[in-house]
Every structure is written in structure tokens, then in C-alpha cells.
């Protein structure tokens, strides 16, 4: 099992979620984050004072998937989240050793 984390543009969340459910992803956990990256922030002006805002609103999706799904999930996210403009975000893949479903106590793949 792997953990796939995707940092995407907020307005892409629905598209990505729909694309993922279509390929059979049944669960994910999402939260709002602020991203710093190549996409430069913007300047906000409050009463003449300029504030450089380096952190931009992004959405982080976290998903545990079986090893077989990894490639498909990545592809799907890439397709759905892409605008081609800087700041589209990243996907990170990392190892997960165990998954447990609290309700049933199921372990491993069954728990996903």
C-alpha cells in the first residue's frame, strides 16, 4: 500500500475527486493548505502598505491505495489537476505499512 499526497489548486478539487471516484478510489482525506513554490505569490495592498503574500491557497489530498492502483491514480490526478500553468502542484508517493479500519478492525487492503 502507498500513500499518495497531491497538492493541487483549490478549484480543481471537485474535478479531481470525480475523476478518482470514476477509477474506483473509495476514500480520501482532504485539507486546505498554503503553498510556497515557484508560482510567485501576489502583492496585497492595505492602506498603501504592500504585503508580499508568498503562500497561496492549495488543497492537499491524501489517499491510501493499493500498490496496483498507484500508477492509475497518479495518472488520473495529473490529468484532472493540470492547467499547464505554474503552480499546478505536486504528487508525492510514500510507503505505508499498515492500514486499519476503525469500525471493523479490518487490516491491510480490506481496510482501504
Amino acid at each position: 500500500m502507498k500513500k499518495i499526497e497531491a497538492i493541487i489548486k483549490p478549484f480543481k478539487l471537485d474535478e479531481v475527486k470525480n475523476a478518482l471516484t470514476k477509477i474506483g478510489v473509495q476514500g480520501m482525506t482532504v485539507n486546505e493548505v498554503k503553498g510556497f513554490g515557484r508560482q510567485k505569490g501576489h502583492t496585497e495592498v492595505y492602506r498603501g502598505a504592500e504585503y508580499k503574500i508568498d503562500f497561496l491557497p492549495k488543497v492537499r489530498i491524501e489517499m491510501i491505495v493499493t500498490d496496483e492502483m498507484v500508477v492509475k491514480v497518479i495518472e488520473t490526478i495529473e490529468r484532472a489537476a493540470k492547467t499547464g500553468k505554474i503552480g499546478d502542484g505536486k504528487i508525492f508517493v510514500s510507503p505505508v505499512e499498515e492500514v486499519i479500519r476503525i469500525r471493523t478492525g479490518e487490516r491491510g487492503k480490506d481496510a482501504i
Partner: protein, 436 residues
């Protein structure tokens, strides 16, 4: 019709004043302190309605557009106040031309002084009447903007607002309320702006929703309201201000203002009840958004009738308003145009129903300067009302359509897709609403 909305016995007096005033202005003793206090506080209340509306609308948009939405209302206060004192008041209430518009002889408020103008208000300073009316001119375009929330280009908005006020609001106000206005002369009644405010903004809102087009993602993405407590607060402020809107339109503190106050409150309550219970029956749960929307519907609907009908008709009008407007809003969801904050469904429908309902329920026992409606033995009033309503619909529709077409070609109506994604706050104003 405003001039005559205070107890008739005073009318003779006012005319006398007028004569006197002509002879020896300023005719100081003629200003009544109670009436003036009431009109000034009513003006303040109606002024507060526009920020109230800003919150009402602001809570209903996504948080990335909250400032853009609040800013529209706030800018309209600034823009239209200036437009009004420079030429808007003169166009609306100045000396009549052909029954359709005031001339520019009151440009820059010249001739609009502190002595009462008995044409409009015999017991209060003319400027008090002027500033009270300013608040109506302000809120009307602010209402309209709800239909095209979250996507209008700010620059175009500024130009549109100024032109719309001048070309749509000012003429209609003149027809209905200006001395010599054709609807007024015909006997069409509109106590506090069902036609002038709600129909004009509501019908124009529909045009705007159609021409500006849907929000990106409309119908496919959830567009959750970002703060219902903000919307509820706004609705409460609107209700509070509406007492000034309707009861202030008596332009005096007395029996007529009391009657208008009472029926306003009752209709607001009725609208809230019927919308919320309608939802409860039809959708399974009464919502807070439904309750406050119903209140606004009830208040908008009673507006034209508020100085002409009694409490029980008001309850009926309020209850039916909640149902009709709820149905209209449901209808929108079927037709699929994106009148984002339901300006048409609430204000055009409410204003229309109210203007017609007064043709049924109006009674000279409430307001001797008004008229009797169908149920008080006068079937003709409703025909006059219908003609007034239709004229306002057609005029608002056509002029707003042409205006937006021209602005669409020249300046563009919408922000770019990318700006819409990032939100109006950042793209139009370089600001962010919240940072908790």
C-alpha cells in the same frame, strides 16, 4: 404618490405653507420637529439597509468573493450619493418634462433648500426629503448586483451602475413619484417602492443574469455559501431598516407611518413563516436561509402596499409572498439561468405581487390619499396597477438589455476565467477577506 401620504387634514395647511413659503422663505415655523426626526432617522435606517444587503449577499458567496460583493454595495453608496446630489434627484423629482423625466433645474441641488417643498413634503425640510430619496436610489442598483455576483468586472460595474441609475432608476422614480410623472398622474400607487425599487432591480437582474452568463462551475460544483450567519445578520439589518423604508415613506410621524410600520413587520413575519414551512413540507427541513429569504420576500412584497392596506391583508400578502417567491426560486433551478442570489425570484416577483395585491386590498380608511382596491369596491385600481407594473417591467428589461449589450462590447462584463478562479477579492481588489 408620496406627497399626499400624510393625514389629509394637514393638506390644506401644507398648501398654505407653500404659499407662505413662496412669499417669505425660509418659512421656519412650518417644519415639524417630530416629522423631521422621523424622516431623518428613516433616512439613516434606509442608508443602513445597503450595508445590510451587502452582508446578506456577502454571506451567500464563496469566501474568495466576499469583498468583491461587499465592495459593490459600498461603492454604490458612494457613487450614487454623488450622482444623486449632482443630477439624479433633479431627474427623478425635479420639474416634470412630458410626464417622463425631471429636468435639470435642480442640478447640484440648486433650489433644493431647507424650507419644505410642499409638492413632496410639507412639514420637513426639502433636503430631508431629498436625502431620504437618495437612500432608495442607492439600494436599488445594489439589489440588482446579486444576480451577477462573483463574476462582474469591477470597472464595468462602476460604469454600469452610474448609467443604470440614470437611465432606469431615475426615470421610473419620476413616473411613479415625481410631480407630473405619468404613472402618478394615472393614479398608479406605489407607497415605498415595489415598482420603483423592486421591480426595476429585479427585472434588470434577470437580464443581467442572462447576459453576463453563468458562473464557472454553476450546476456542477457545489457553491457553498461561505457564511450563513453573515447572511442572517444582513437580513436582520434589512428588516430593521425596512421600517424606515416603508414607514418613513409616510414622510411624517403619525397614523400613516404607524400603519405602514405595522403591516411591514407583519408581512416580514408572514413571509418568513410560509417560506420556511413550505420548505419543511416540500423538502423535509426548514432552513435558516429559507426563513430569512422569506422575510425579505415578505418585506419586499408589502413595500408598495404598505401605506394602503391593513394588518390582516398584510398577513395574507406576507404569507403568499413567501410561497410565490419560493416557487419562483425553485423555478429558476429548473430553467437553469444563474440569478445567483435570486434577485429576480424575490424582488421582481415580490414587487409585482405587492403592486397588484394593493389593487385588491387598498383602503381609503387606511390612507385617504390612496384609493380603494377591488375588495373595497373599486375594480379599476388593479388595472391601473397592472399597467404600471407592466410598464416598469418592459422599460427595465429593454434598457438594461441595451446597456449591458453595449458595455459587453466595449468594456466586457466579466472577469477572465482565471480571475474568476482566484476570486474577485484578489483579482479586482488585491485583498483577501479573512486570515484566521
Amino acid at each position: 404618490m408620496k406627497r399626499v401620504f400624510f393625514p389629509l387634514p394637514m393638506l390644506g395647511l401644507l398648501m398654505a405653507n407653500a404659499a407662505l413659503a413662496a412669499e417669505s422663505a425660509p418659512a421656519l415655523p412650518k417644519v415639524d420637529t417630530g416629522d423631521t426626526a422621523w424622516l431623518l432617522i428613516s433616512s439613516a435606517l434606509v442608508m443602513l439597509m445597503t450595508p445590510g444587503l451587502a452582508l446578506f449577499y456577502g454571506g451567500m458567496v464563496r469566501s474568495k468573493n466576499v469583498l468583491g460583493t461587499l465592495m459593490q454595495s459600498f461603492m454604490i453608496i458612494a457613487l450614487i450619493s454623488v450622482q444623486w446630489v449632482i443630477f439624479g434627484y433633479s431627474l427623478s423629482f425635479g420639474p416634470d418634462r412630458w410626464g417622463i423625466i425631471g429636468d435639470l433645474s435642480w442640478f447640484g441641488l440648486s433650489g433644493v433648500g431647507l424650507a419644505p417643498n410642499p409638492d413632496y413634503a410639507g412639514t420637513v425640510p426639502h433636503q430631508a426629503f431629498m436625502i431620504y430619496q437618495a437612500m432608495f436610489a442607492i439600494i436599488t442598483p445594489a439589489l440588482l448586483m446579486g444576480a451577477i455576483a462573483e463574476r462582474m468586472k469591477f470597472k464595468t460595474f462602476v460604469v454600469f451602475t452610474l448609467l443604470w441609475s440614470t437611465l432606469v432608476y431615475d426615470p421610473i422614480a419620476h413616473w411613479v413619484w415625481g410631480t407630473g410623472g405619468w404613472i402618478r398622474k394615472m393614479g398608479g400607487l406605489d407607497f415605498a417602492g415595489g415598482i420603483v425599487v423592486h421591480i426595476s432591480s429585479g427585472v434588470s437582474a434577470l437580464v443581467a443574469a442572462l447576459l453576463v452568463g453563468k458562473r464557472k462551475g454553476f450546476g456542477t460544483e457545489p457553491m457553498a455559501l461561505h457564511s450563513l450567519p453573515m447572511t442572517i445578520t444582513g437580513a436582520a439589518i434589512l428588516w430593521f431598516g425596512w421600517f424606515g423604508f416603508n414607514a418613513g415613506s409616510a414622510i411624517a410621524a403619525g397614523m400613516l407611518s404607524t400603519s405602514a410600520f405595522v403591516v411591514t413587520h407583519i408581512a416580514g413575519a408572514g413571509g418568513a413563516l410560509s417560506w420556511a414551512f413550505g420548505e419543511w413540507i416540500y423538502k423535509g427541513k426548514p432552513t435558516t436561509l429559507g426563513a430569512v429569504s422569506g422575510a425579505v420576500a415578505g418585506l419586499a412584497t408589502i413595500t408598495p402596499a404598505s401605506g394602503f392596506v391593513g394588518p390582516m391583508p398584510a398577513l395574507f400578502i406576507g404569507l403568499t409572498a413567501g410561497i410565490f417567491c419560493y416557487m419562483a426560486v425553485m423555478g429558476k433551478n429548473k430553467f437553469g439561468y444563474d440569478d445567483s442570489l435570486d434577485v429576480f425570484g424575490i424582488h421582481a416577483i415580490g414587487g409585482t405581487w405587492g403592486a397588484l395585491a394593493l389593487g385588491l386590498f387598498a383602503s381609503k380608511a387606511i390612507n385617504a390619499a390612496g384609493n380603494n382596491g377591488l375588495f373595497f369596491g373599486n375594480p379599476s385600481l388593479i388595472a391601473v396597477q397592472a399597467l404600471s407594473v407592466v410598464s416598469a417591467w418592459v422599460y427595465s428589461f429593454v434598457v438594461t438589455f441595451i446597456l449591458l449589450k453595449i458595455l459587453g462590447w466595449t468594456m466586457g462584463l466579466r472577469v477572465s476565467e482565471e480571475e474568476e478562479n482566484s476570486g474577485l477579492d484578489l483579482s479586482q481588489h488585491g485583498e483577501t477577506g479573512y486570515s484566521f
